[in-house]
Amino acid sequence: MMLWLTIFAMAGLTFCQRASFLLLPERVQLPPLLVRALRYVPAAVLTAIWAPELLLQNGVPSVALGNERLLAGLVAIGVAWRWRVTFGTILAGLAALHLFDWMF
């Protein structure tokens, strides 16, 4: 039940975000500073989601060889940076995770 409520709340808020300015009259504008700030939202928020997934092991920062997710993530970062391919990045990261898991 809680999951359904979560989904409905997400759906409602997301729709409001998209509809917001499409429904507001033209004279209601975003302040220029806010427009500039919003440009950094995807880079900031999404990196804030994946960075802990790589760097934390059981809630503690870990940069050891035994942290396979960090190693696999570095491979994925390299692929994403060099080739800019979504699916290739994901496949390379998963393959690397299995490889490192097998090695260490």
Binding site: L3, M10, R18, W50, A76, T89, L97
Partner: protein
């Protein structure tokens, strides 16, 4: 369906043609999202409902990760809201193109306002905002993308529920985020925003209610703006 006299068929068809290359990007992402939702323990019906009702992949992946980690509902909703803040920007930038359209059309555009069609739409109409057929073109872009997304998410949900946990498919969600962000971390302000937000999220992980995510977003935005200002000062 009889087309209304005001419906520009050529623009609709132009949109359909322009949507085809997008499907190559949307399909795999839909598949990964479906697989990740299944691997994250979201039941198939709920996962599909989320896909249709929310229809915003990045926020669905973020929500999946939080739900799988047992985060409270309010935290999940807040995180999705933060991930989707960019939609305000989309909404404000397409508004001039749909200002004359009736309400139901603007609501439909709102629902279908997703990353790829948004970018292609702006490319086409940026230089001639008064050209007719903008709604039709957007519909031509949006309908195939929507069908492709829902079909591949459904496929991913079905497949993900059958694949063993030993495949470590839960790692697909962070990998998808890497694929979404790393190519765009070019230029010092963007890089500063990403790195500072990532570091903050790691260090603030112990904060209750995943407040680290909101904090990291704020830090990242501030660093981005700061470095933007610094590079302007240098350029002078």
């Amino acid at each position: 369906m009889p087309l209304r006299p005001g419906f520009s068929r050529p623009e609709f068809q132009a949109g359909l043609r322009a949507s085809l290359p997008l499907l190559v990007a949307v399909g795999p992402f839909g598949l990964i999202t479906g697989v990740a939702m299944a691997a994250g323990g979201i039941p198939p019906l709920e996962a599909m409902a989320m896909s249709i009702l929310v229809y915003a992949g990045a926020s669905m992946l973020a929500a999946t990760q939080l739900i799988a980690a047992g985060a409270p509902a309010l935290v999940v909703v807040l995180a999705a809201f933060i991930v989707n803040l960019r939609l305000f920007m989309y909404s404000v930038s397409v508004r001039p193109y749909f200002a004359g359209e009736p309400l139901h059309r603007r609501l439909l555009v709102s629902y279908a306002l997703v990353d790829n069609p948004y970018a292609i739409f702006l490319q086409r109409f940026l230089d001639h905002p008064r050209a007719p057929g903008k709604f039709e073109y957007f519909a031509g872009l949006g309908i195939p993308v929507w069908i492709c997304w829902q079909a591949t998410v459904a496929t991913g949900i079905v497949a993900g529920a059958r694949l063993p946990a030993a495949w470590k498919l839960d790692f697909a969600a962070p990998l998808a985020f890497i694929a979404m962000t790393v190519p765009f971390l070019r230029g010092r302000p963007m890089l500063a925003a990403g790195l500072s937000a990532g570091a903050t999220a790691v260090l603030a992980n112990g904060l209750p209610l995943k407040l680290g995510l909101a904090l990291a977003a704020a830090v990242g935005i501030c660093f981005g703006l700061l470095f933007e200002r610094l590079s302007k000062v240098e350029a002078r």
